[in-house]
Symmetry: C2
Subunit: 141 residues, 2 copies
Amino acid sequence: MHTMTQAEWTGFANHGTRTGKLATTRKDGSPHIAPVWFLVDGYRLVFMTGAGTLKGKALRRDARFALCVDLEEEPFAYVLFHAEARISEDVDEMLPWSIRLAARYMGSDRAEEFGKRNAVPGELLVFGQITKVVAHSGVSD
Amino acid sequence: MHTMTQAEWTGFANHGTRTGKLATTRKDGSPHIAPVWFLVDGYRLVFMTGAGTLKGKALRRDARFALCVDLEEEPFAYVLFHAEARISEDVDEMLPWSIRLAARYMGSDRAEEFGKRNAVPGELLVFGQITKVVAHSGVSD
């Protein structure tokens, strides 16, 4: 098993259309999880979610979240992020990120269309300041 | 977007070497996440973890957990499970599940080797009784 460097976990997390599995804590203390489209930008995670979703409400209540990205085949690998969310509802700030996120997951030819559709009031732009990273490759070696 | 039937989400979650992303709540109320090898067996999720790991300790403190399985490419799909853990430390009960889990993720020729290595004191066998499922395919269609 190999511990990834920052360059390695950044490249791994931003590779292709790997999604982030976002864990938050519900009001009753139970865990919640959902996949998100995201990007690693230095020591920040960037993603969007609806203000009315469970994860949106959870992040407003408690900024702490965890996010997992993994390789689901041999030799298996994973990156676990712990981060603290700062939330923006500024649609102008949201649009370029929304387009970048759509470019990653839907391809550059559909990025503008999807990006504009998602950067609207009621959506939240989340910047997650990374506080801890656990990143291992070659897990089953 | 299509809501999966039980047969669909069972097949989806048990397909190939898809891993489960397990979310639990830490002692301080913050969320924790980690990938696990798992199986869906009817309305149960079955996986193993170390008694000394954060997720093992979290599940002993609070049986509630969430687990996510997703398809990381178009048209995107995901299954979100909510479940309650029952933990067994009986190595005899553990061994057949450990072998089945290894067969799924490492292949049948290495299942016995990996299964025996993992079914030892200090490991926990977790049966998660599913309490809620959210399962969608064709998310980006």
